[in-house]
C-alpha cells in the first residue's frame, strides 16, 4: 500500500489538521515509512493467536449505575471560547 499526496491531504482534512500543500509530499512519505513497518509486521503468522489487549492480566474496570458526577456547568464551560445562557456557543452549523 502506498500513500500519495492526495490521500495524505484527505487524511489531514478528516483529522482537521491544517497541512500546507508544500508539506504534503514529506507527510505522504512518512506515512509510507510507517505503513512499510506495519507491512513487515504483517509477515508474522498469527493464525490462531488471541489478539493481546494488554500486558497485565486485567479485567475491564466497571462502575455501579450511580450518579456521582456533574452539576459543574461553570467548570465545563470554563474553557469555551464563547458560552451563552449555559450553552456552548459555536459558529452556526446547520444541515
Amino acid at each position: 500500500m502506498s500513500i500519495d499526496t492526495e490521500t495524505a491531504a484527505r487524511v489531514a482534512k478528516l483529522a482537521r489538521i491544517k497541512v500546507e500543500p508544500a508539506d504534503l509530499p514529506a507527510l505522504a512519505s512518512e506515512f509510507n515509512t510507517i505503513l512499510g513497518f506495519i507491512e513487515q509486521l504483517n509477515e508474522v503468522d498469527v493464525e490462531g493467536v488471541e489478539p493481546m489487549t494488554g500486558v497485565t492480566p486485567m479485567r475491564l474496570k466497571r462502575r455501579e449505575d450511580v450518579v456521582t458526577d456533574g452539576n459543574q456547568q461553570k467548570a465545563v464551560l470554563a474553557n469555551a471560547p464563547d458560552a451563552r445562557e449555559g450553552f456552548f456557543a459555536v459558529p452556526k452549523v446547520v444541515e
Binding site: M58, R59, R63, V67, D69, G70, N71, Q73, P91
Partner: protein, 503 residues
C-alpha cells in the same frame, strides 16, 4: 402450548407508472438505556436538566479523562438482548468512530463495530390478529449518544448542550425483513413495547429516547424471494438511509415518499445512488445529506482506553432468571386464561401498565367481564379525559368492586355504568355507594310483578297490540325499567312481562 399461530402479512405493493414494485426495509433503532448514570461517566441521564449541568469531564472530552463502563448499562443491554431472544456475546469490545461535530467533544463516538454485546435475535411484529411478521435482529451494540445542538436561538450561532453526550444507547439493527411502511412502524412499536416491559428503555420518542434510521430500497415482485433463498443482496435494489426519525407517523410517511422517489428514478431509466437522506415532514420529501457523505469515512479502530468487555455466563443467567413475562407470552396467556379474543388481549398487553392494571381487576373475578370493563369503559373514559392508565381516578380495586357487584346480581349493567361514573368523578367504595344511594338491583319478584301489573293496567291498548306482535314486550320491559329507576333485574323483568302478557 401458549404460542399463537400466525401468518406472514403480504408485502406492500406500490404501482409505478410502468409496473408494480415492492419495498425492502431494514431499521437501525437507537434506544436510550434507562440507566441513572451515563455509559462511561457518573453524570446523570435525567432529561430536561439545566444545559451542561449533567456533564462530567469525561463527557466534555477533557484531556486525560478516562472512560469507566457503567455495569448497569451492560446489564440492561443484556436484558434487552434476552428479551429479543438474541445471542449474548460474553466477550465484546469498544471501538472509536471518528468524526467532527460541535456536539461531540471527544471527536469520536465510542461504539461497538466489530464485537457487539448482543448477536442475532428476532421480534414478532403483530399486524392484525393471526397476522405477524418475524423480523430478524442482526445485532445490538452499546454506544455513546452525542450532545444536542440548537440552531434557532441565535441567527449566527448554534448552541450546544452536552447533557445527552455520553448517555448509553443501544443500537438495534434489523435484517431487511420489513416489507411496508406500516410494518416498519409496527416493528418500532413492538421493540418499544418489549423494552418497556423489560424496563430497559422508556421508549419516549418525543424526548428522542427512541429514534430510528430507516434503510429503504425497492425491487420487482419475486426479487425478494430470491434474496431470501440465497441471502444475496444483489437481488435487491440500492438502498438509501433516512436518518434520525422520532415519530411513528414520520417513519411511515418517509418510507412511502422515499420508495416513490426511487421508483420514479428507476422507471425513468436512472439508477438510485446509495446515500444518507433526511425526511422533511413539512415538504413531504426526502433530501440528500451531502455533508454526511465525506464524514462516512469514520476510521474505526479499537478504543485504546477500554479493555474488552468480558461478562460471565452466571451474570447473564441471573438476568435471564429475572426476566418478566414478555408481551407475546402475556397475550397468549390472556387468551388462554381469560377466554378473551386475541384482539382484546392485544389491547390489554399493549403497554405493561395496562396489563398490570387489568390483572389486578381480574384477580379472583370474572376475567372476560373485567376485560370488557377495562377496555370499553375505563379506556374509553380515560381517553376522553386524555389521561393515562397511571392517572386513572378509578383504582383496580374500585373497578373490581363494581364487577363483583355485577357478578353477584346486585346491580344491572346499566346501573354499573352510572356507578362507574360516580366512582370516576367522586371516588369512594362501590359497594357503599350502591347501598347509600339505593342503587341495588330489584330482584324481589314481588316488587317487579307489582310494577308490571301497574303498567299493564295503565296501557290496555298496548297490551292488545302486544298479543298480536310479541316484539312489543320490549316496550313493557322498558317501562318497567323506567318505573324502577333502572334497578330492576332485566332478566327477571323479561320473564315476568312475558308471563303476564301470556306470550
Amino acid at each position: 402450548m401458549l404460542d399463537l399461530t400466525y401468518e406472514a402479512p403480504k408485502p406492500k405493493v406500490i404501482q409505478g407508472a410502468k409496473h408494480d414494485w415492492e419495498l425492502v426495509i431494514g431499521l437501525e433503532v437507537h434506544a436510550q438505556v434507562a440507566s441513572r448514570a451515563k455509559l462511561f461517566s457518573g453524570a446523570s441521564t435525567q432529561f430536561g436538566a439545566e444545559p451542561n449541568s449533567n456533564v462530567a469531564f469525561v463527557d466534555a472530552g477533557m484531556p486525560g479523562m478516562l472512560p469507566v463502563i457503567n455495569e448497569g448499562c451492560v446489564a440492561l443491554a443484556v436484558k434487552t438482548g434476552l428479551g429479543l431472544k438474541a445471542k449474548i456475546n460474553l466477550v465484546s469490545a469498544f471501538d472509536r468512530k471518528n468524526y467532527f461535530y460541535p456536539d461531540l467533544p471527544q471527536g469520536y463516538q465510542i461504539s461497538q463495530l466489530y464485537h457487539p454485546i448482543v448477536g442475532e435475535g428476532e421480534v414478532l411484529v403483530d399486524m392484525a390478529p393471526g397476522i405477524a411478521r418475524l423480523v430478524r435482529i442482526e445485532r445490538i451494540h452499546l454506544e455513546q449518544d452525542a450532545g444536542k445542538s440548537i440552531h434557532d436561538m441565535d441567527p449566527n450561532m448554534s448552541f450546544v448542550d452536552l447533557n445527552r453526550t455520553g448517555v448509553a444507547l443501544m443500537e438495534i439493527v434489523s435484517r431487511p425483513d420489513i416489507r411496508g411502511p406500516e410494518e416498519a412502524a409496527a416493528y418500532v412499536g413492538k421493540l418499544r413495547q418489549i423494552m418497556r416491559y423489560l424496563g430497559t428503555c422508556d421508549g419516549n420518542m418525543q424526548n428522542g429516547n427512541l429514534r430510528a434510521d430507516v434503510n429503504v430500497s425497492v425491487c420487482r415482485p419475486g426479487d425478494y424471494e430470491k434474496y431470501q433463498e440465497t441471502q444475496d443482496f444483489s437481488h435487491l435494489g440500492t438502498r438509501c438511509e433516512i436518518k434520525n426519525m422520532n415519530s411513528m407517523r414520520f417513519i411511515q410517511q418517509a418510507i412511502e415518499v422515499e420508495a416513490r422517489r426511487q421508483i420514479a428514478i428507476l422507471e425513468d431509466g436512472g439508477t438510485v445512488v446509495q446515500e444518507t437522506r433526511l425526511y422533511d415532514p413539512d415538504k413531504g420529501e426526502t433530501r440528500s445529506m451531502r455533508s454526511k457523505e465525506e464524514a462516512h469515512d469514520y476510521r474505526y479502530f479499537p478504543c485504546p482506553d477500554l479493555l474488552p468487555l468480558e461478562i460471565e455466563q452466571d451474570f447473564v443467567d441471573g438476568i435471564a432468571a429475572g426476566l418478566p413475562e414478555l408481551p407475546d407470552e402475556k397475550k397468549a396467556r390472556f387468551v388462554l386464561d381469560y377466554g378473551m379474543t386475541e384482539y382484546d388481549a392485544g389491547v390489554l398487553t399493549a403497554d405493561v401498565e395496562n396489563a398490570v392494571y387489568f390483572e389486578e381487576v381480574a384477580r379472583g373475578r370474572d376475567g372476560k367481564l373485567a376485560a370488557n370493563w377495562v377496555i370499553n369503559e375505563l379506556f374509553g373514559r380515560l381517553k376522553k379525559d386524555e389521561k393515562t392508565i397511571g392517572e386513572s381516578p378509578v383504582s383496580p380495586q374500585q373497578l373490581g368492586g363494581i364487577i363483583e357487584l355485577i357478578g353477584k346480581g346486585d346491580i344491572s349493567g346499566k346501573i354499573a355504568k352510572d356507578l362507574f361514573e360516580i366512582v370516576y368523578v367522586e371516588g369512594g367504595d362501590p359497594a357503599e355507594i350502591v347501598e347509600s344511594r339505593g342503587m341495588r338491583q330489584v330482584t324481589d319478584t314481588g316488587a317487579i310483578e307489582a310494577a308490571v301489573d301497574q303498567i299493564i293496567a295503565d296501557n290496555p291498548a298496548q297490551v292488545e297490540k302486544a298479543k298480536v306482535n310479541p316484539k312489543l314486550a320490549g316496550w313493557f320491559v322498558g317501562q318497567v325499567m323506567k318505573a324502577t329507576g333502572g334497578k330492576a333485574n332485566p332478566a327477571a323483568v323479561n320473564q315476568i312481562v312475558a308471563a303476564k302478557l301470556g306470550l
